[in-house]
């Protein structure tokens, strides 16, 4: 029907009222919209962390000089390490084997001697190669700690430090280099992806399963009106979940919020358009609530978690996987969210991302209206 339906607004309102009534009567919606964001935010904000604190590290000082003692004390004071000193590597090796120690730092004989002469310093680090991540972290942290210590020592002794060795990282926007600052905005993206696709994954399938879709389709309502009217209440719920997440991030975890509410609203809306549409398409395609839920989790949550750059850096993925990340809506959300929290309004970043997300939404919407049609199998 191409002519305009004068009663479309009335019909749209009737569907919205029905959706709200169903949401109100269904306690699981509350769990999905309020409890799930709280639980996930707690998990990502508190339980999951990429920071390493108190790594149990053995230290063997073979030099026994002022400089070496100072280095040992310095390491002991550093919160990244929990130092246990031993007389020999052999003494500590058992600890490494049993997993009690993550690595052993060996300060060689002649350490101070070499230091004052500006000779290259060889400090050995023995790590547990079976725990690759921990070993890498430990190496990195030790390198940083050593560098800092060497510089301080050099200043004290008034020795010039070779400039080529000097790496002075400045952790912009995240001075404490806390992974939480990066994780929490990402977690909001994951929560939104999950809730968005789950919310709508159920709603069309439920109509088909209960046979009410037939009743709706037999009325004069147009399909786009039906789809949009069904979507709007869930868009509002999605925004409510987002607001809860942001509140937890700011007041619960003390994240700065350097951008504007308007920018956040626009980014969140664009993203919700994409994920709600995705859930709706799954729902209309499977016509089965159970399959639909599984599929929504598989196609909404997992790619958002793995391929959005939230946990794993996209640049370090194989090329083929990198291409794949371009079809994950969360990829366009998370950098914008991180900016809104940690940097401010970077419209140059936001606008293209918003545009891409809206295109996703439009694509899904068109596919949904096509998938529904007026057909009952």
């Amino acid at each position: 029907m191409s002519q305009r339906d004068p009663l479309a607004a009335r019909r749209a309102r009737a569907i919205r009222a029905k959706e709200w009534a169903q949401i109100w009567l269904d306690p699981s919606t509350f769990g999905l919209v309020v409890l799930m964001p709280l639980i996930l935010m707690f998990l990502f904000g508190s339980a999951v962390t990429l920071d390493v604190h108190g790594t149990r590290t053995g230290v063997v000082d073979m030099d026994h000089t002022r400089a070496s003692r100072e280095l040992v004390n310095n390491l002991a004071r550093n919160s990244y390490f929990a130092v246990r000193e031993g007389q020999s590597v052999a003494e500590l090796e058992a600890g490494l084997k049993s997993g009690e120690l993550r690595g052993i730092v060996v300060i060689p004989d002649g350490f101070e001697h070499g230091l004052v002469r500006l000779e290259p310093l060889d400090i050995q680090l023995i790590t547990d190669g079976s725990q690759v991540n921990t070993a890498t972290f430990l190496t990195g942290h030790l390198r940083g700690a050593l560098k800092e210590w060497v510089e301080a020592e050099a200043r004290e002794l008034d020795i010039p430090v070779t400039p080529v060795l000097k790496i002075l990282p400045r952790y912009t926007y995240n001075p404490g280099l806390e992974s939480r600052y990066m994780l929490v905005p990402g977690a909001i993206g994951i929560v939104m992806a999950m809730i968005g696709s789950l919310l709508t994954a159920l709603i069309m399938a439920r109509e088909y399963e209960r046979g009410t879709m037939e009743g709706l389709l037999a009325t004069p309502i147009s399909i786009p009106t039906l789809v949009i009217s069904k979507l709007l209440p869930y868009y509002a719920l999605g925004l409510a979940s987002t607001a809860i997440c942001v509140a937890v991030a700011v007041w619960g975890y003390g994240l700065p919020f350097r951008g504007s509410i308007l920018a956040l609203f626009m980014i969140a809306s664009a993203f919700l358009a994409a994920v709600l549409g995705q859930g709706l398409l799954i729902s209309a395609g499977t016509k089965n609530q159970f399959v639909s839920t599984q599929f929504a989790l598989l196609s909404g949550f997992l790619p958002s978690l793995l391929l959005s750059g939230f946990l794993f850096e996209i640049d370090s993925m194989p090329r083929a996987i990198q291409w794949l990340t371009y079809i994950v809506p969360a990829r366009y959300l998370i950098p914008s969210l991180q900016s809104v929290f940690l940097v401010g309004d970077v419209w140059k970043l936001f606008l293209p991302n918003i545009a891409i997300l809206l295109l996703f939404g439009l694509f899904f919407f068109l596919r949904v209206t096509k998938a529904i049609r007026r057909r009952i199998a």
Partner: protein
């Protein structure tokens, strides 16, 4: 210019994809042609999977035909004016968790009626449906009859010119069925036409026109009298005499000359293929639509002796010891009493029927006797085992076919039967034998690898019956086993049930079909949680005699229910 016909079908054909990848397409409709003039009521009848629902969906513009012409209200169906067509899908299409008011207002607005602007139409709908006072009740908690009335109100709230009602009277008791028919007539405005699908020929007989569909083809189109006329000269009846009604019917059904047979009052009624039925005293009788239906679809097949029953051991338990006993059974939910002090007993080999309107407490009584629900008062025994102390042993002794299909829709027929066999402790070769027997007896071979949820209704009911008797129990509970299935499958079902009872199994059954109730040895009529009458079908008819001349069982049912309602009201 005269108004165009409300429906015009010409050579309409529709194929669906086969159930499996390689299987050929299923021909749902095959060259269907008919015309429905304005203001007429068309009854759409036919056996299971005949294509009735597909035809309705085409009329509602929800399915596109592959070939042929379809005109709705004078326009091609592609330009269907949905505001002029009220479609009530099978099952009603209601939101169970939403209230009566929410459902009605949703459909009113979708169909262009603003309840605030048309309060008189809404008030009229509440009055006619009898739903006034129930506006805030969730539709899922209404009785079956009221739910169907609400669904109809939702479909026709905008007073459409064409009302499409798919199975509006399925699973509904005789009182509600009459009310629903009445409601449709009242709701149809002047000049509106109605299409009404049903598997109940009683309903169909009241329509102006009938369309009999079978395997996608039109087998009859015309007034109901014409369908009945097909059995003219082949319909006979005779007095029952002293014979037990169901024995008389069973004996007839296995005769090669007989198309169908049943009980009507104190006479046995038979439709033959050619000659007069065997035996003396047969008189020519007036055929009805049921008879015409049976003749039209007769394939010449003679019902073989029930292979389903043959597996049951002949049980010759002491008839004085009841196989099922309810002793003062009661069930209360808070302040609401669902079942109040019900007592009866069923002997081995007896068929006992529970009758009553939707929501009277039949299913609750059933569930208590199956050990699925603890009684609030009284007790029940099954095969001599007390349900309160030996529930597991009692359950072992019974087979239960619930009202709602309760097998796994996404499992195959084979997997479902294997599961049920296992649940009843049959394994290995015993399970395989039992499954083979049931599948053979019920004609399920062709569906062995199909998902149970995708089966046509009648086939699904066959599967449910098969699952209930896999372990050849001494006690069988059947809760509306024939709800929604066509007369041919009903006849087949009762053929099995009678044969199983003849082996000494006690059968407790609920039904809304009074010709099925006639087949029971004894009946109990339950209304508003209480037993209001108990006895043989003849005794129940006699109870109502003073009030309504020489009543049929259906008339007796309605009279007894109404008189109790009046008493309760007074």
């Amino acid at each position: 210019m005269a108004e165009a016909p409300h429906l015009r079908f010409e050579g309409v054909t529709k194929r669906f994809k086969g159930p499996r990848r390689r299987s050929p397409p299923v021909l749902a409709l095959d060259g269907v042609s008919f015309t429905l003039p304005p203001g007429r009521t068309l009854g759409l009848v036919g056996p299971d999977a005949a294509g009735k629902t597909t035809l309705m969906r085409i009329m509602a513009g929800l399915v596109e035909p592959d070939e042929g012409t379809v005109e709705v209200l004078g326009d091609p169906v592609a330009q269907i004016d949905r505001s002029q067509v009220g479609y009530m899908p099978q099952g009603g299409g209601l939101y169970a968790e939403l209230s009566v008011r929410q459902n009605l207002e949703l459909y009113a607005r979708l169909r262009g009626i603003e309840p605030e602007e048309s309060p008189e139409r809404i008030a009229q709908l509440y009055r006619l449906t009898g739903l006034a006072g129930f506006e805030n009740r969730p539709s899922g908690q209404l009785s079956g009859g009221m739910r169907q009335k609400l669904a109809m109100a939702c479909a026709v709230v905008a007073a459409p010119r064409l009302m499409l009602l798919d199975e509006p009277s399925v699973g509904v008791d005789p009182v509600s069925r009459r009310e629903i028919w009445q409601l449709a007539q009242e709701l149809a405005g002047a000049g509106s036409s109605i299409v009404w699908t049903t598997s109940i020929l009683d309903d169909a007989e009241r329509c102006d026109e009938l369309l009999l569909l079978h395997e996608g083809k039109v087998h009859y189109a015309g007034p109901p009298g014409g369908l009945a006329q097909r059995a003219a000269g082949r319909t006979y009846s005779r007095a029952l005499g002293t014979a037990r009604p169901r024995d008389a019917v069973q004996a007839l059904l296995e005769q090669p000359e007989i198309v169908t047979a049943g009980i009507a009052g104190d006479r046995v009624h038979a439709v033959t293929r050619a000659a007069v039925p065997p035996g003396p005293d047969w008189q020519v009788a007036k055929p009805d639509a049921d008879d015409g239906f049976a003749v039209s679809l007769d394939t010449g097949v003679v019902l073989p002796p029930s292979a389903l029953a043959a597996a049951f051991p002949v049980r010759s338990a002491d008839p004085a010891v009841p196989a099922i006993a309810a002793i003062g059974l009661s069930r209360r939910y808070g302040s609401f009493t669902a079942v109040q002090d019900i007592s009866f007993s069923v002997s081995p080999g007896e068929i006992f029927g529970l009758l009553g309107p939707n929501g009277a407490g039949k299913s609750t009584t059933f569930r208590m006797l199956c050990g699925l629900l603890a009684p609030s008062g009284g007790r029940g025994t099954v095969a001599g085992r007390d349900l309160t102390v030996a529930r597991a042993q009692a359950r072992e002794a019974l087979g239960y076919m619930p009202q709602k299909f309760s097998l796994y829709g996404d499992l195959t027929v084979a997997a479902n039967l294997k599961f049920v066999a296992g649940a009843y402790g049959l394994s290995g070769s015993r399970a395989a034998e039992a499954i083979e027997r049931v599948v053979g007896a019920l004609g399920l071979e062709g569906y062995f690898a199909s998902a149970a949820g995708a089966l046509p209704l009648g086939t699904r009911q066959r599967l449910a019956l098969g699952a209930a008797v896999l372990h050849t129990p001494p006690v069988l509970f059947l809760d509306e086993p024939t709800s929604g299935v066509d007369p041919l499958i009903r006849r087949e079902f009762w053929h099995h049930i009678n044969a199983i009872a003849a082996r000494g199994t006690a059968v407790l059954v609920t039904t809304h079909f009074m010709n099925e109730a006639e087949n029971c040895d004894r009946l109990m009529l339950i209304n508003q949680s209480e037993a209001i009458a108990q006895g043989t079908p003849a005794e129940l008819r006699r109870l109502a005699r003073g009030m309504a001349g020489e009543p049929t069982l259906e008339e007796a049912f309605i009279t007894l229910i109404r008189s109790q309602r009046e008493e309760a009201a007074a």
